[in-house]
Structure formats: structure tokens, C-alpha cells
């Protein structure tokens, strides 16, 4: 195996070995959200024509799980390696910064997609759902997971302790996903909060992903994809610059 494939293998094996915590738990969490919110809000929340609240909710929960787990994978893996010191095993061999970036981000994408498929597989037992445009679904899931994987890597490089990763997760990732229209359509919001939602990059990922299921969305899907792609490109550039300079890793 080459450096890149080995690092990818190691990162994938790492979360797979604790899949109860890294895959099963987030799937259960999404299912609980579905049961509670669909019960509490079903019929009370105006949604697209012909789309029930539960149907509307499922793609949002899937994408939310994809994004949160992609972020969790790269950020927690790297911070653990840094704190326990075993990051040296990856810094001593001839692994280029591009290989390092690629392996961590791709492993995050894999974790995100595995959890996403898991959530979908469980929720379709409860909710009748079809994908009208599967390519959009896949495209947004892939790009969104990659973006959060890169963001997780940035956070993992920057943070010096678990605390900071947890703060990032609870004060940035969680509010941005909750306020991105997972549980509601932003058209139901007052005008100010609609406009504010458009500043949230997570909104475009959720909205575009949902378009793949229903063929309708709050924002044109191609424009959403462009927003996500540009966000991913900017984050990747920042991350690659950090890695190339050795910031916090090769002091």
C-alpha cells in the first residue's frame, strides 16, 4: 500500500473498530429526532405540496448526520493523535501534506456517507420516500461531507485540547446545522431570519440534498452546489496552507 491508501485505511479502520459509537449511535439519534419531531410537529408545519412533515424531515436528518459525522471523524481522530502523541507515526514517514489532507478528508466522507446510508436505511421503514434525482442527493452528500471533513481537519490541527474541539462542535457545527432548515423550511421564517439563513453554508447543503428527493427546494440547487463547492475549496485551501507550513504539527 502507498502512504495515502495506508493512511486512508487506518483512518477508516479506526472508526470502524468503534462503529457502535461512530455509526450506530448517530443513526439511533437521527431516528429519535424523527420519532419526536414528526410526532410533535406533524401536520402543524407548512411544507411543500404533497410532502408530509416526516417525509420532509428525513432528508434533513440524513444530511445533518452526514455533516456532523464527517466533521467528528477528522477532528476527533487528529486531536486524539496529537494529545496522545501518536501523530509522530504519521509525521515521521514520507507522507506529503496533500496525501495527509486527502486521506483524512476521504475517511471523513466515508464515515459521513456510512452514517447517512444508515440513517436512510432505518428511517425508510417508517417514512415512504423516493429520490427523484439521486445524482443531486449523492453530489450534495459527497461535497458536504468533504467540506465538513476539511473543516474538522482544520479544527483538529488548530486545537490543542479536546475541550476546544467540543466547543467547536457545540457552538459552531451544532447551531449551524440546527438552524439550516433541517427541521423546517426557511420559507416559514420571518424575512430577517430567512435572509440570515442564506448566510449559513449548511442551509445550501441541506436544501440541495433535499432537492434530490422532492425536486423542489428553497434555493436553486445548482447555485447551492456552487456555494458548497466554493466553501469546500476555500476550506481546503486554508487547510492545505496550514499543513504545508507545518502549523502546530511540525513546530
Amino acid at each position: 500500500m502507498g502512504s495515502f491508501t495506508t493512511l486512508l485505511y487506518k483512518e477508516t479502520l479506526r472508526f470502524w473498530k468503534v462503529s457502535f459509537q461512530t455509526v450506530a449511535a448517530p443513526v439511533l439519534m437521527a431516528l429519535l429526532y424523527l420519532v419526536v419531531f414528526a410526532h410533535a410537529l406533524g401536520g402543524r408545519m407548512p411544507i411543500y405540496d404533497q410532502v408530509s412533515y416526516a417525509q420532509f424531515l428525513v432528508p434533513g436528518l440524513v444530511m445533518m448526520s452526514v455533516l456532523q459525522n464527517a466533521f467528528a471523524n477528522s477532528s476527533s481522530s487528529l486531536i486524539q493523535s496529537k494529545i496522545t502523541g501518536n501523530v509522530v507515526f504519521m509525521l515521521l514517514p514520507p507522507i506529503s501534506y496533500l496525501e495527509f489532507f486527502g486521506a483524512y478528508v476521504l475517511a471523513s466522507v466515508i464515515r459521513g456517507l456510512v452514517v447517512g446510508v444508515g440513517v436512510l436505511a432505518v428511517t425508510v421503514w417508517f417514512v415512504d420516500l423516493r429520490m427523484v434525482a439521486p445524482l443531486w442527493v449523492f453530489g450534495f452528500a459527497l461535497l458536504g461531507a468533504a467540506m465538513l471533513g476539511a473543516l474538522g481537519l482544520v479544527a483538529g490541527i488548530w486545537a490543542d485540547k479536546f475541550d476546544q474541539i467540543a466547543a467547536f462542535q457545540n457552538f459552531v457545527i451544532l447551531p449551524l446545522t440546527f438552524l439550516s432548515g433541517v427541521f423546517y423550511s426557511i420559507r416559514t421564517l420571518p424575512e430577517f431570519w430567512q435572509a440570515a439563513s442564506h448566510l449559513n453554508p449548511f442551509f445550501y447543503m441541506i436544501d440541495g440534498f433535499r432537492y434530490g428527493f422532492f425536486g423542489v427546494s428553497d434555493f436553486p440547487p445548482l447555485a447551492s452546489l456552487a456555494v458548497v463547492a466554493v466553501s469546500f475549496a476555500l476550506l481546503s485551501a486554508a487547510c492545505l496552507l496550514m499543513l504545508r507550513s507545518g502549523y502546530k504539527l511540525r513546530q
Partner: protein
């Protein structure tokens, strides 16, 4: 000539702290080289720069002729490092750890060498055990194995025997010596000076980020340490103007420091002239601890 390791005017600053203040040294291929110094002297910083774990503020480092920054891929393939801290990845078994480490170096089919390393380091019984379950000594062996998976010609060991029991220490040195005999260059840092004295061909001593001594172990011992002479005479006093340093005088038992063997002849000559009779005589050979303390005191 290609050196195993070549450092040229290496400087390292961490903010206001000058960890390395212009270190130059060269380690020849096949050498067993010791890097000594008190805590905070810069040994680990220098090793980190050689290994690419840290970047020098100024200066150049080459491993087997490959620059550790510009030609890092070749430099890192040539180098195996056993870190000082007892680090491990708790997710994997010993064998997984070694396979993954091989893969990082781009080695696909490395199982026969991994088996060999496992055998030599006596890790066979624990090969499929999770790293978490291993004792400290076992973890240390895995660290050595990890440094060797890619058969590097140059091996750096940063205090490999700190906190290791006697048996493992002996086994480890036997193994490292074998590697050295097989042509591997060994660079070692340790606080056990008798180990360094026994193993190293050449020694560099670092203090406050500078090389304060760099010579063959033999020369260091001869030039710095001198000999310690213990005498018991038939009288309570030494002849006056003996011209040597008296380290102790315990009622007829004297401990003297001699610069060299010529000094011994001189002392015996003076004693004979004074008519003194020697009842007991003991000559202690030079030791590295003495050299180390003297060098550190001098700088």
C-alpha cells in the same frame, strides 16, 4: 563523502527561547554515535529537526545526503526514529500497528520482515494483542519495531532505556548492537552514561543548545577524565609538593587525581624519594560520568 547525518549551523528558536544555537556535527556511516547533555540541552530538538518533526530556524540537516526539508521523502526513508515518549495508537494491535507503519513508507509486502522484527524483539506472544493491553516495556519494543519496519540505514533512539527494566535494556542493546554490526548507523541519546561509554564510538555533548564536546569516546576519556589513584601508605601524610590534586585524605588512605599514566610514574617516584612504603594501591580507569561532569562544569 556522504555522512549518515550532517547538521550545519542548526539553530532553533521557540519565541525568546534559543533551543539550538548553531549546532554542527557529522555522523559517519556505520558509526555508533552518542548525543549527551543535561535536560533542556537541545538533544530532542535536534533529533526532531533531523526527523522532520520540527523545522530549523536556520541551518541545514541532511540524512544520507538528503536534505530533510527539500528532499524529505528520501531523508525520511533513510531514517528510523524511536521517540522518547511512550506513544501508541490504542485502536490497533501490534501487528496492525507495524503493517500500517510499513504502509506509510509505501511498503506493500513487508510481512516477512515484520515477522522477523517481531521475533527479534520478542513480541511474538503479543503480536495480535491490542496496544492498550501491553506493558510499558512491551510498548517500548513496539516503538523500536515501528522505527525499523522500513529497514532504515540510520536509526535514532531518543532515550530508549528510560524507565526500562534491566532485562529489556540488555536485550535491547544486544539487538541494537547487532543492527550496528549489520551496517546501520546508530544515534543514541541517554542519561545512562555507562551505556553511552560502553556502546558509542563517538560522542557529542550538548549544553544550552551548543556542542561543547565532540570526539571519540576514547579521546574524551583520555583527555578529560584522568585517572583516580587510591593509596594506603605506611604513614599519615603525603610528601609535600606531590603536585597532584588530592580528592580525599582519610587517615593514611589517599585518593588522588592523575592526569595520565605518566602522572602515576611521577607520584611513585616522589613516594620512593620520600621513603614511603605503599601498602595498597588501586587505579581506577577514567569514566564518562566524570568526563561529562567536567565538560559541563567547564562550559
Amino acid at each position: 563523502m556522504t555522512f549518515a547525518i550532517e547538521a550545519l549551523n542548526v539553530e532553533k528558536r521557540y519565541g525568546a527561547l534559543q533551543a539550538l544555537a548553531g549546532v554542527s556535527l557529522a555522523v559517519a556511516e556505520g558509526e555508533f554515535f552518542g548525543l549527551l547533555g543535561p535536560n533542556g540541552a537541545g538533544k530532542t530538538t535536534l533529533i526532531s529537526i533531523i526527523a522532520g518533526l520540527a523545522r530549523a530556524s536556520a541551518g541545514k540537516v541532511r540524512v544520507m545526503g538528503a536534505d530533510v526539508v527539500d528532499d524529505y521523502r528520501r531523508a525520511r526513508r533513510m531514517l528510523g526514529v524511536v521517540p522518547q515518549e511512550l506513544v501508541f495508537d490504542p485502536f490497533f494491535t501490534v501487528r496492525e500497528t507495524l503493517r500500517i507503519q510499513s504502509g506509510y513508507f509505501g511498503l506493500r509486502k513487508n510481512d516477512s520482515w515484520i515477522d522477523e522484527v517481531i521475533h527479534y524483539l520478542d513480541l511474538g506472544a503479543k503480536a495480535d494483542a491490542n496496544m492498550r493491553t501491553l506493558s510499558g516495556g512491551m510498548k517500548r519494543r513496539v516503538l523500536v519495531a515501528q522505527a525499523l519496519v522500513h529497514k532504515p540505514p540510520v536509526i535514532v533512539l531518543d532515550e530508549p532505556t528510560a524507565g526500562v527494566d534491566v532485562e529489556l535494556r540488555q536485550g535491547l542493546w544486544k539487538f541494537i548492537r547487532r543492527l550496528n554490526r549489520d551496517g546501520h548507523t546508530i544515534v543514541l541519546t541517554t542519561h545512562y552514561l555507562e551505556e553511552a561509554e560502553e556502546l558509542c564510538d563517538r560522542i557529542a555533548m550538548l549544553k544550552a543548545g551548543r556542542v561543547v564536546a565532540l570526539d571519540s569516546t576514547r579521546n574524551l576519556l583520555e583527555n578529560f577524565s584522568g585517572l583516580v589513584l587510591k593509596l594506603r601508605l605506611d604513614r599519615d601524610a603525603l610528601p609535600a609538593d606531590l603536585g597532584v590534586e588530592v580528592l580525599a585524605n582519610d587517615g593514611g588512605r589517599f585518593t588522588l587525581r592523575l592526569r595520565d599514566y605518566a602522572g602515576l610514574e611521577e607520584v611513585l617516584h616522589r613516594l620512593r624519594e620520600a621513603g614511603a612504603t605503599i601498602r595498597e594501591l588501586e587505579l581506577e580507569p577514567p569514566d564518562l560520568e566524570e568526563v561529562f561532569l567536567r565538560v559541563m562544569a567547564k562550559h
